[in-house]
């Protein structure tokens, strides 16, 4: 889009900054770079925050955050506002990319102490939990989870481990790992609904 007249870019940018998320995505779908610029400004801190929370590495987090925003631009035309809010769509893209990055990093076998650190759910992992579950209700619900369920959830959610990988890290059968993840999610779901977790 190019608006003409006095200070077109200022005017257009101000307009783009004031519109809804869905309108910005529609603008991106139409190839509008001013909509893309407003979209980046609006979401860069959330996207980068998520990437940093999962990756803990600023350079890698920037790569992931950049790629997420570029993908949002490229795929804006297939965004369906009836299926998900824009924020959920964008953060899902970011999370997928972060998981891919984590898996690539894991292509190098983890050292024993790293595995032990993850399984031990030590300070770093606890911090990841705090970060990942900033909402007080969910944090409280997480604190009430049995430790093995909390570890399984964090390994899957914050580190992108599959149930099979969680099982190997925790030295438990696949079925047990699946059950722990499922139970943890069910309890958080209960907390979200304001119910007491069973």
């Amino acid at each position: 889009m190019r608006l003409v007249g006095s200070e077109p870019s200022v005017r257009a940018t101000a307009q783009a900054d004031s519109v809804s998320d869905e309108a910005l995505v529609a603008g991106m779908a139409a190839g509008d770079e001013q909509a893309a610029a407003a979209f980046v400004r609006r979401y860069q801190r959330r996207v980068f925050g998520l990437a940093m929370s999962m990756l803990g590495d600023r350079a890698l987090a920037e790569d992931v955050a950049q790629e997420a925003l570029v993908r949002a631009w490229r795929h804006a035309s297939v965004f369906d506002p009836r299926r998900a809010p824009v924020a959920a769509w964008l953060l899902t893209i970011t999370r997928h990319l972060a998981i891919d990055a984590l898996r690539l990093r894991r292509a190098v076998p983890l050292a024993d102490e790293e595995i032990a650190r993850l399984v031990r759910c030590d300070d770093d992992t606890e911090r990841a939990i705090e970060v990942a579950l900033a909402r007080p209700g969910l944090r409280a619900a997480l604190a009430e989870l049995p430790a093995e369920q909390r570890r399984a959830l964090v390994l899957a959610h914050a580190y992108g481990y599959t149930a099979a990988e969680v099982g190997r890290l925790e030295h438990v059968p696949l079925g047990t790992a699946k059950t722990r993840i499922r139970a943890a999610m069910a309890k958080l779901r209960g907390a979200m609904h304001g119910e007491k977790a069973p």
């Binding site: 529609a26 925003l69 297939v78 909402r135 699946k178 499922r182 779901r189």
Partner: protein, 238 residues
């Protein structure tokens, strides 16, 4: 995966219940995911359960603290965006862009809003030349009316929404040259409002723009060149 290799679809909910949480967390492997998704297509109960779990997963990331990216991040992203075209559009995606725009405007009608496109990838707004060039414009789809030259030649279409927050979508793909054009509309009472000036690249461009509600139902839209020459007009049904 070939059809022969593909696992039998799961018919029993109990066989996928254990996978739904992992699917919501995006940690199922591709084969597992395909198997579960096959089941979900025919099982409303499991699909509903997945939506709930996906809500949990979304919440886990939605409330994350924001963090300032490194200096220059925004300009680096925008530099990359300028070098990458939006997903290549196929014939017919013109209508998809319009549908997205319509949904978007419906959601944000109160905001002052302009969305547009030009057709050359080298321009700041470039990137969907394929859509503009390849799409067969829809001449009659409800509120969509043809934009015609004075000689009756079809050059694009206009779509007016007269809801609580009226707006107009104009899509032109059969004019020529790079130039700015002015778009104005006429209400039923004869009042004319200039909606703005927009850029056409290689004769193509489109925009969505709010229309003052006080105009009521639109009578017509007019596209004029910077010198005042009328390039095209659209007449809306009474």
């Amino acid at each position: 995966m070939s059809d022969e290799d593909r696992a039998e679809p799961v018919r029993v909910c109990g066989e996928v219940e254990g996978d739904l949480a992992e699917l919501a967390l995006c940690v199922l492997t591709g084969e597992e995911r395909a198997r579960v998704v096959d089941h979900l297509e025919g099982c409303a109960a499991c699909a509903a359960a997945l939506r709930e779990l996906a809500g949990v997963a979304d919440r886990l990331v939605a409330d994350l603290p924001e963090m300032d990216p490194p200096p220059g991040f925004e300009s680096r992203v925008l530099h990359r965006i300028r070098s990458v075209e939006p997903r290549p559009t196929r014939r017919g995606d013109h209508r998809l862009v319009r549908a997205v725009a319509i949904a978007a405007i419906a959601a944000s009608a109160a905001a002052a809003f302009v969305v547009g496109r030009a057709s050359s990838p080298s321009t700041p707004a470039g990137g969907i030349r394929d859509a503009a060039g390849a799409a067969a414009p829809s001449r009659s789809s409800g509120l969509s009316v043809a934009l015609l030259t004075s000689a009756g030649r079809f050059v694009g279409d206009a779509y007016a929404d007269g809801g609580r927050h009226p707006w107009l979508l104009v899509s032109i793909d059969r004019l020529s040259g790079d130039s700015s054009v002015t778009c104005d509309v006429t209400g039923r009472d004869g009042r004319v409002v200039v909606l703005g000036s927009f850029w056409l690249s290689s004769g193509r461009g489109s925009w969505v723009v709010p229309v003052p509600a006080s105009l009521g139902r639109l009578r017509s839209a007019l596209i004029t060149a910077s010198g005042g020459k009328v390039l095209a007009s659209a007449t809306f049904a009474a």
